[in-house]
């Protein structure tokens, strides 16, 4: 199977365009199987409840994650203020030994919508502190421009609220961001429910997909992970190949030159 081209995230070369989460699996074994099947090279994990142990005994769950050999993208899930998110990010940098941070600052506990104002505030502080910030944001163009101006090299607008599996609720807004920020690395984060949602985002020219629930809550997570790996590759290949423009009138795909006239004007 032809693979899409490799790409770079904050100077790190990656083959896979899928970032995958580590929550909600019914056992670590099922999580490991799913992550392997997804071929993801970046995994996200939340600091709050998957902490490397602060005692001298080893946290086995943490060891399992390390054994995967993936790049770690710690997140600030569950933070509701810039201050809280910055503090969590600093702890994550120390514990996981990475300056990557998926910055999540929520503004609404009902649909877990990012707070754009706190997100900008926290991004500014974290970039000054030397973090490589991956902001989880809404699909608002002006917010994305502000985050880009601050120095974010990656933006992760939502497809739909976290865990809803609604797919791309506003593909127009996502397409506008892609077109207006052509050099930005863009991932759709949250809301992906099925592989065709991921294909749609990749065909729009998004560089990658971050998801968790769509795989973890499938009846067979490893099989779904494989489906997403193939879908994301297909969507990227389609983007690289150049999707044909739409036409209003039908155009036959079989050449008509050698057909008798009576058939053409039948």
């Amino acid at each position: 199977m032809k693979r899409a081209s490799s790409w770079q995230v904050y100077d790190t070369e990656l083959e896979s365009r899928l970032f995958i989460g580590t929550a909600l699996y019914t056992s670590p074994q099922i999580m490991l199987d799913a992550i392997k099947a997804s071929q993801a090279q970046v995994i996200t994990l939340s600091l709050r409840r998957q902490m490397p142990s602060q005692t001298e005994s080893n946290n086995q769950f943490w060891q399992l994650i390390q054994e995967l050999g993936c790049h770690l993208l710690p997140n600030t899930a569950g933070c509701y203020s810039a201050e809280e998110a910055v503090k969590t990010a600093c702890m994550a940098r120390e514990l996981f030994d990475t300056d990557w941070i998926k910055l999540e600052v929520l503004g609404d506990s009902y649909n877990l919508q990012p707070d754009p104002f706190a997100l900008v505030e926290a991004s500014k502080i974290l970039i000054a502190e030397g973090f490589k910030v991956f902001p989880y944001c809404t699909d608002d163009l002006v917010l994305c421009q502000k985050l880009a101006d601050l120095g974010c090299k990656v933006l992760m607008p939502w497809g739909a609220p976290i865990g809803t599996g609604q797919g791309l609720i506003n593909p127009y807004a996502l397409e506008v961001i892609r077109k207006r920020l052509p050099d930005m690395t863009l991932l759709v984060d949250a809301g992906i429910g099925k592989p065709s949602d991921a294909v749609q985002a990749m065909e729009l020219g998004y560089d990658g997909i971050l998801l968790n629930t769509a795989v973890a809550e499938a009846l067979e997570p490893d099989v779904m992970a494989s489906a997403f790996a193939q879908a994301i590759n297909a969507g990227r290949l389609a983007y690289e190949a150049g999707v044909m423009p739409k036409r209003d009138n039908a155009k036959p795909s079989t050449p008509t030159l050698d057909q008798p006239i009576w058939q053409q004007y039948d």
Partner: protein, 361 residues
């Protein structure tokens, strides 16, 4: 008659010791916990025996192993000198209106993992028939017939009495045993039992979390519970509430006492219940029935369950003995089945082992 050394006196250790002396064997127990068992996860547990509802949240195998235990529990409890509270009225699974998608998810998994006669969908009238006080807040439920729970602390007390009184059991407390080897066993046997380790036909390690240094891949999963006395609430079923963060379970005890448990946290943190969990547990109680507002909080407790990567038990042979571990949050659901298989192994009746896939011997 054979002579066994059991290390650890949690649920598996004490149940196994009891089964062995019942069969006429001689048992020595060595444990760092007190004889009441307060350091054991099984002492804190809600002790629900729910093969089908647990299978929905994990995998099909859980139902098969759990069903064997569910059939054994009433028989084993009947052999005890006192009656232990055991209620097999079944489990009700419910969700608040705002969490209907969680209920839909549970139902979809139930359809995938179970057969349709494992459960029934109840409307409000049918729910009111089974659990009138619950039907005041909820208009539908899934019902899993035959699932049960027991009074674990009473069971612990009785087993402590049996084992300490029995002339065939010698139970000694010791310091924590981090790592076992033949040398360590020899020292321990000499020190605590005035004998050589060679005396024992088999050493069986039931230390749970304490066995981490000797069992690769063993990890801890933290859980938190609240125990209340609620005279205004009269539930007769185990209740599971689907919740976006994690499922909650309410297990009834005698005299209007209830245990609400939740939280599956990947951590070996043994510190007390945190405020956030306490708030969540208490608000869930209140949301189940307003009568919980006047309940008295008897206890809040946390513990860690020992688990392997697949969250299933393991029975493993080492050069110094047999290890039983990884019962995860399924101590009561799995231990009779696992112990029955271990007894078959010890008695060389390998052909009657039912869950060979759990064995690494």
């Amino acid at each position: 008659m054979k002579q066994y050394l059991i290390i650890g006196s949690g649920l598996v250790g004490r149940l196994l010791a009891w089964r062995l002396i019942s069969k006429g064997h001689q048992v020595s127990i060595l444990s760092s916990d007190n004889k009441t068992g307060t350091g054991s996860a099984g002492f804190i547990a809600a002790s629900m025996i729910s093969p089908a509802t647990e299978a929905v949240q994990t995998e099909q195998k859980v139902k098969h192993i759990g069903q064997v235990s569910a059939d054994l529990w009433p028989k084993w409890l009947a052999e005890l000198p006192e009656e232990v509270f055991y209620q097999d009225n079944g489990t009700l699974v419910i969700a608040h209106n705002g969490d209907e998608s969680e209920m839909a998810r549970f139902t979809r998994r139930a359809e995938h993992i179970l057969s349709s006669d494992d459960y029934a969908e109840l409307n409000q009238e049918e729910l009111a028939d089974k659990e009138p006080q619950l039907a005041q807040q909820f208009d539908k439920a899934l019902f899993f017939d035959g699932e049960s729970c027991l009074d674990n602390r009473h069971l612990y007390r009785i087993l402590t009495t049996i084992l300490t009184m029995s002339p065939f059991c010698d139970w000694q407390q010791c310091d924590e045993i981090d790592s076992i080897s033949l040398t360590v066993l020899e020292q321990l046997s000499q020190h605590h039992f005035n004998c050589s380790n060679d005396v024992f036909d088999e050493v069986i390690d039931c230390r749970g979390n304490g066995a981490k240094a000797d069992l690769l891949g063993l990890r801890s999963v933290r859980g938190e519970v609240i125990r209340v006395h609620a005279p205004e609430v009269d539930f007769k079923h185990a209740i599971r509430l689907m919740h976006p963060r994690y499922p909650m379970y309410l297990a009834p005890r005698p005299n209007n006492e209830y245990i609400l448990g939740a939280t599956v946290i990947e951590s070996d943190d043994m510190s007390p219940v945190c405020v956030r969990s306490a708030l969540e547990l208490m608000s869930v109680l209140y949301s189940l029935h307003k009568g919980f507002a006047e309940a008295r909080v008897l206890e809040m407790a946390s513990h860690c369950r020992p688990a392997m990567k697949n969250n299933l038990p393991i029975i493993k042979r080492t050069n110094w003995g047999l290890q039983i571990n990884g019962l995860y949050r399924h101590g009561y659901l799995f231990s009779p089945a696992v112990i029955t298989d271990v007894l078959a192994l010890l008695e060389d009746k390998v052909e009657s082992i039912q869950f060979g896939e759990l064995f690494d011997v």
